[in-house]
Symmetry: C2
Subunit: 358 residues, 2 copies
Amino acid sequence: MDLSVYFSINCILILKIVLMEITTLKDIASKLGISVATVSKALKDYPDVNKDTKKKVLHMANKLNYTPNQLAVNLRTKQTKTIGVIIPTTVHHFFSKVIDGVIAEAEKKGYLVIILQSDEKLFLEKLHVNLLIDKRVDGILMSLSNKTNEFVHLKKIISRNIPLVLFDKVEPSIACSKVRIDDQKAAYDAVSHLIKKGYRKIAHFRGDLNPKISNDRFEGYRKALLDHQIPYDPSLVYICNNNKDFEDGYQNAQKLIKEHKDVDAIFAITDLVAVGIIKYFNELSIKIPDDIAVVGFSNWFMSSVVTPTLTTVDQPAYKIGKTATEILLEEIELLHQEQPITHKEVILPTHLILRESS
Amino acid sequence: MDLSVYFSINCILILKIVLMEITTLKDIASKLGISVATVSKALKDYPDVNKDTKKKVLHMANKLNYTPNQLAVNLRTKQTKTIGVIIPTTVHHFFSKVIDGVIAEAEKKGYLVIILQSDEKLFLEKLHVNLLIDKRVDGILMSLSNKTNEFVHLKKIISRNIPLVLFDKVEPSIACSKVRIDDQKAAYDAVSHLIKKGYRKIAHFRGDLNPKISNDRFEGYRKALLDHQIPYDPSLVYICNNNKDFEDGYQNAQKLIKEHKDVDAIFAITDLVAVGIIKYFNELSIKIPDDIAVVGFSNWFMSSVVTPTLTTVDQPAYKIGKTATEILLEEIELLHQEQPITHKEVILPTHLILRESS
DNA sequence: TTGTACGCGTTATCAG
DNA sequence: CTGATAACGCGTACAA
């Protein structure tokens, strides 16, 4: 017999003995010979309870290590002090920072966070919405998947009177609060920067056709060109839709070089795409930014350590998560107090971070 | 008045009208003129209920969009179908992949996941343990913070009879299941690889002194040297403990070059440290691997796109999360069935990924 | 100041 | 096969 297994079993036996009993109000009440109601009130600092009994209750509660059973509290108060988050994926620098912000803010206000991933699939998004509704979370935070093109599940949340805040990938037609950046303006700024630096033949590696975010960035790109009297050339726009941003960037860079030898800059929809481009150019010894400049989007950590370092748009991920959560918790609070809710749309500022690649 | 605000308020009014009532067993029962008990049984497919009534109940439940109130279910069954995860941070490639694995596996089995961050602080770790216990999660998954040097909070979990699985950063003395890699062997393999490639003066950028993980990797480094008749030189070991891995790598590389001009390889405790080293060497035009080879640890995505690409130890993050969750859910299930639990210690294999930097 | 009694929505036992 | 009834643990209006 393996020693570690033996050890483990041994431990279980010991544990059975040390097992801590969970104390309830009833336990305290019976030990003290008073009623459950009084104990409850004492613990919640009600005014109509004798100082002495309160002290006794507090002492006993402490001694028995009492903590209220949240399940029972939830059932009574109809609040779970829990919010749900649905995002495409956690394995993503942007989203993990958003989560960081969400958890930090929620925790500060005494809320717990349940995280679910849509994996960019509509049916999973729907499934998870139902899961969260059944779980009776107090509110829901969502960044929509790229494939989401119908919104009954969002309407269901709203019709159930559960506060919903959309962030990042947002649907304008849904009546709820939203937190996002101005993708069009951010893209416009990035491309304008390239133009000001003297680049003229600027390609754009864009995202899928459906998501608003990708169209907005594309529009920003186009507008920047037109506003600076550079004709818009559709053949300079490449679509990255394999959900493999890095390889999309790498492969499209390859294509681009074949099809447009004279291109002098690329605006990529995402840092990952940009890093794919950089990788390819490095392999071919195409000099960045001397031969071709590259600008990314999101300011992933990676963009600051890659060679050359990447000029990119800083997207305040942590702040997006934090703000969305603030609004959500506010709405939850208002709802609880039966006060009217006014939905907000917050647009957080972005900044272009200038680095070596442009 | 701002139009969007007006629009929002309008929407609220509409919502109030569409508000969906939540149906309970009682509703179904009264509509059908039967008892709650029968409805409950019909819905749960108990054998002792008439086919006709069952059909009627099912139909009505469907019509009214009935879903059981999980809060009540939880209170009754004393299960929340929720597990808690405490990790140092979500903003970390390794941990976000672990989370991915955890959520995927939990979801498959119908469990939800609450995530909390210790931010490498012991007091937060303790706080969160209490939060999760109060929340009555069915089980807890933890990767300990670097600062964790006492374990009463872990013992508290166990004494409450809540299944606990430790992963990645593990404490051997705690009687619970564990999922981890063999850090010492992984480090040994990495350094042996350098030696076989002909490198002789190999530095090690290690982690903080406390965490087991960092000591294990250091031991692997030392053993590999000794086993290959290379004397161990303590002055070649640099400590990275600023919690800023990238900068630690960068700065220690600077120091190393000053203090040991003839060093020919570095084994870094983490890819981030390695990338910091690479960055510094790139700036100084020190050739990797010709002048100095670099090996990292973890196989972050970044390591495959940096220039030169980084040789590193692949740590199966997703699998670690998935396996830990599997074991946890198993133990939860066993506990629920009042069957004895045997703790497991799973050691997942790592692989050295050979790239350009060595 | 304290205690009684009920409700939250389910599940489970047991009698009919 | 069906339905009272109790219980889970807590909160609170109301009676004492």
